[in-house]
């Protein structure tokens, strides 16, 4: 009985989740819609780091640097040249991706913890450079203010509701694309590299190129998150892109489960909603967070929603019903 029920539930799950997210801002109000927006930003950041860390297995603790490049690209180009925010969305992605390519190209051969240390340094250098106000562009510690709201000409997004839907539409499109990548030769190549680099080479995979690709795509998605963040706050400043942000992104992927999209959503929920729920004892929330992380690593080291690997997709299940070979 349960066996026949499960596929129905599985099929109903996605529309249900979408309906839940669409209904959320109408059953809550004001501040909680903004919480929903930042939840969406953390999902995007989690998804972006998940490409690098979850899929390709590369330790990147400087991901906030790419996020910052996206946010500052949007902020500077919008305030200086008045280029509309939504046009800057792909521009920020390209800028962050290009930056990632340039900085990771010389370090991509580093393994494990060595790469981790260098990416920490990279993230910190970005933050310090922003504080030092190079060419008078970044506004130093005060950042850049006076950013416009996203506009489609006739429709300007300036309400919490508008931002909420903007970010979640972007999340939806990103997830759609990432799932397709996951189930392609590119996603498999990343997973092979994560499992065993030497074996991946022996199977004919250009390890260096695919590692770079993971960084570039991950950074581009972080750049998109940066664009949305800048357009929501209307101001960007260096302290929003600290090492702590990189740590949060890392936690999102670890809490959820490496390489798992639903895991990232759960991880982002834990990281962004948790502080809101426990605001009443704000002084202890980092302690609680830390203890929760340690407990989780002990009890569920694979994450809360680990990726099903090697298991069958729904379509394969159907195929198996028809073709009874083997």
């Amino acid at each position: 009985m349960a066996g026949t029920l499960t596929p129905v539930l599985r099929r109903a799950a996605l529309p249900f989740v979408i309906a839940l997210f669409a209904a959320y801002p109408f059953v809550t109000a004001g501040y909680f819609i903004d919480v929903g927006f930042f939840f969406g930003i953390y999902v995007l950041l989690g998804l972006s780091l998940n490409i690098v860390l979850g899929e390709a297995g590369l330790y990147d603790l400087g991901h906030a640097g790419f996020y910052a490049i996206g946010a500052y690209t949007t902020a500077i180009l919008n305030t200086r040249f008045g280029i509309p925010i939504l046009i800057l969305l792909p521009v920020s992605a390209v800028a962050a991706g290009l930056f990632a390519y340039l900085v990771t190209f010389p370090i991509i051969h580093l393994r494990g913890d060595y790469l981790c240390i260098v990416t920490i340094g990279m993230g910190e250098i970005v933050r310090l450079a922003l504080i030092n106000n190079p060419f008078g562009l970044t506004g130093g510690p005060n950042g850049v203010s006076g950013i416009q709201s996203p506009s489609l000409g006739f429709l300007t997004i300036d309400s919490s509701l508008g931002y909420y839907f903007l970010v979640w539409i972007v999340v939806g499109v990103s997830i759609f694309g990432l799932l397709r990548l996951q189930r392609s030769r590119i996603g498999r190549a990343w997973n092979c590299i994560r499992e065993d680099e030497v074996a991946a080479q022996a199977a004919g995979i250009n390890v260096r190129a695919y590692k770079l690709l993971a960084f570039v795509l991950g950074a581009a998605l972080a750049g998109i998150a940066g664009n949305l963040y800048a357009s929501k706050l209307l101001i960007v400043s260096p302290e929003s892109f600290s090492f702590w942000e990189s740590c949060l992104m890392f936690s999102i992927v670890l809490i959820g489960g490496m390489g798992s999209v639903p895991g990232v959503i759960i991880g982002a929920a834990a990281v962004s909603l948790f502080p809101e729920i426990f605001r009443s004892f704000a002084n202890y929330r980092m302690v609680v967070f830390g203890v929760a992380m340690i407990l989780m690593m002990m009890v569920r080291p694979g994450g809360l929603w680990p990726r099903r690997r090697g298991g069958m997709e729904g379509r394969d299940l159907l195929r198996k019903l028809w073709r009874r070979d083997g």
Binding site: E195, A202, A203, I205, R309, G310
Partner: protein, 273 residues
Amino acid sequence: MGSLQARDSAAEDTFTRDGAIVLETAGLTKSFGGLAAVDSLDMRVHRGEIASLIGPNGAGKTTVFNVVTGIYRPERGSVFFEGKEITGRPPHRIVEKGIARTFQNLRLFSNMSCLENVMAGRHCRTFSGVAASLFRTKSQRNEEREIRERAEERLRLVGLWEFRDELARNIPYGRQRMLEIARALATSPRLLVLDEPSSGLNPRETEDLMEFIRAIIRDEQLTVLLIEHDMNVVMGISDWVTVMDGGEKISEGPPAHIYHDPKVIEAYLGVRS
């Protein structure tokens, strides 16, 4: 006995080997911290044969494999594959050229399914990029189907069809060896390089493996180069044997010749006092 030895040594340079040269190393040298693991090695593998590389522990056999497959870069000397120099090319390029390998200590993608492991081998024969994968273009979908069908066919060939959805780490050791061979075969190689394929296998499995290797050579116009410790295997299957000791080639020839070569016996058993 004396006459047999005399005949063998006299014939040393006149053994005939059929077929074009598939793999050739010339003066190949690779050292680690001043110690020459491989020293001026000249070796040839001809088309359609099973060539073996043998020698005591530490003779440098695996180093030869790692240089040939691009994992190490040699200090001196060259590697030619089908007449073209491939020395120092990156490993994935060498796989593209048509040399596939397995490892002495299995290297599988443990947390991926057996099918996915073999599908990885098709990577170098397929081309779809990020955009094609995002938009699921017609050519990308056809290519994915081709990857899948080809991988399924390879899995059947090595008899692992029933394990296709199992994680690679969950299947028995002997099966894991076959899975690694299936992954190598999925790259459509012309030269298959096997590093101690029978290690960890029981005699029955070893026999099956040898039978399998003979069959694929016949059916797929393959050439095989293998490192092997099991002398029964080497003598039973090889067309040509190269013996190394201390990084140098000390003998080569058909198995019957190697079997009686005093230098080989000395390398394995020491000098009779």
